[in-house]
Symmetry: C2
Subunit: 212 residues, 2 copies
DNA sequence: GTCTATACGCGGATAGAC
DNA sequence: GTCTATCCGCGTATAGAC
């Protein structure tokens, strides 16, 4: 999946600098497939269709590039969760909205779940950077949603932290643990039909999980 | 956590060969912390208290060592699941037994969940080896349990594959995604009290998840 | 069966031309 | 801003002494 730039770029300052998104897209792919340690800057440069030195010109270190890739995803999800969870409609509507928004995003961005879940397991450069705070915010948003439900007497009187953890696991694992999902499903979870099925199933599971 | 052998081992064939478990334990630790790619044979040898060459004498390649470590865990869990799920007692008893057995194992073997979940996300050497079949068996055991429940009219008429996936995610994520769990819990999930709490919460969640 | 020593490639990162 | 060429360390893996 090499970028087709038609003709090779020559030396010297070009009229059209390579957009940052080119590097980020390539990096997203390689990091998702190989992880932070397994990915090499050479592979990312190759994928982006530039030389390694060019890549190093745009990102001082591999860590910088990795953190930027993960920050973009965490920020997307953070926005999505915050909007879905906001105080419009009753508790169950908010719960449904949350599931649907997350699944459409993770289903439409196949690398996102793998990148995030791997980083959670690795406790790697991103989770050890300041940007990890956005993850904490998302978690707190989810807990707050359940808290609202509990206050309204709609949610079972159980530990909300375990409930929030299950919610995160539920969403990420399906799209990230591809061998497991493929074995169970017998196909890709990223087809449009599979995604619609998933939304239906998760909405039902999420309701039963917390409802009295 | 270096092995204390008292005095250094000399050259030549020793009277007491180093037990294989020494290498496996060390490898488990390093692989769990760094992942397959991130781990180095030097680090594992250091942790085991032997030279790199000695380690390579016992395991031809890093992959061999890694697969053996993961096979041991998958086999432990496979046995546990198979026993817990077997046809003793009613459906809810079997469900509770399953949760308790898995949580005690993962809680008492802090590296297991990380190793397994990371491998699921990586689709690495283990999942591409023949040994991965044991994972498929476990998944099928779980689906079969839910099928029994559905046949008995105790389980909600929903897609059992999504239910099984949630069950796996639920168990692994809590003990594997340590930064997330620690943020939510505000401490380690591996203390005896945290484990008992976890058993209680998961039993309740697992019931609500599938029960009519 | 374990050691020391080493081969060899590939990783991240840099220098300097254009 | 991008290129080619290169440095240097650490990775896996091997050879041969003991």
């Amino acid at each position: 999946m090499v970028v087709e730039s038609g003709k090779r770029r020559g030396r010297g300052r070009p009229k059209e600098p390579i957009p940052r998104s080119t590097f980020l897209r390539a990096a997203q792919g390689i990091f998702a497939d190989a992880g932070f340690q397994g990915a090499s800057m050479s592979a990312i440069a190759r994928e982006a269709g530039v030389s390694k030195a060019t890549l190093f010109h745009h990102f001082e270190t591999k860590e910088d590039l990795y953190i930027e890739v993960l920050t973009a995803i965490a920020s997307d999800l953070g926005r999505l969760v915050h909007e879905a969870v906001e105080d419009r409609g009753n508790f169950h509507e908010r719960l449904d909205r949350l599931a649907e928004a997350i699944i459409r995003y993770l289903g439409g961005t196949p690398r996102a779940a793998r990148l995030l879940l791997r980083e959670f397991v690795d406790a790697g450069p991103f989770m050890n950077s300041a940007a990890a705070l956005s993850v904490a915010t998302v978690l707190d948003d989810v807990v707050a949603l359940y808290q609202d439900g509990q206050d309204a007497g709609l949610v079972v009187p159980q530990d909300l932290r375990h409930l929030a953890a299950t919610s995160v696991a539920l969403h990420l694992h399906w799209f990230a643990a591809t061998p497991v999902t493929r074995h169970l499903l017998g196909g890709s979870p990223f087809t449009p039909e599979a995604i619609e099925d998933r939304i239906r199933e998760v909405k039902a599971q999420a309701r039963r999980l917390c409802t009295l």
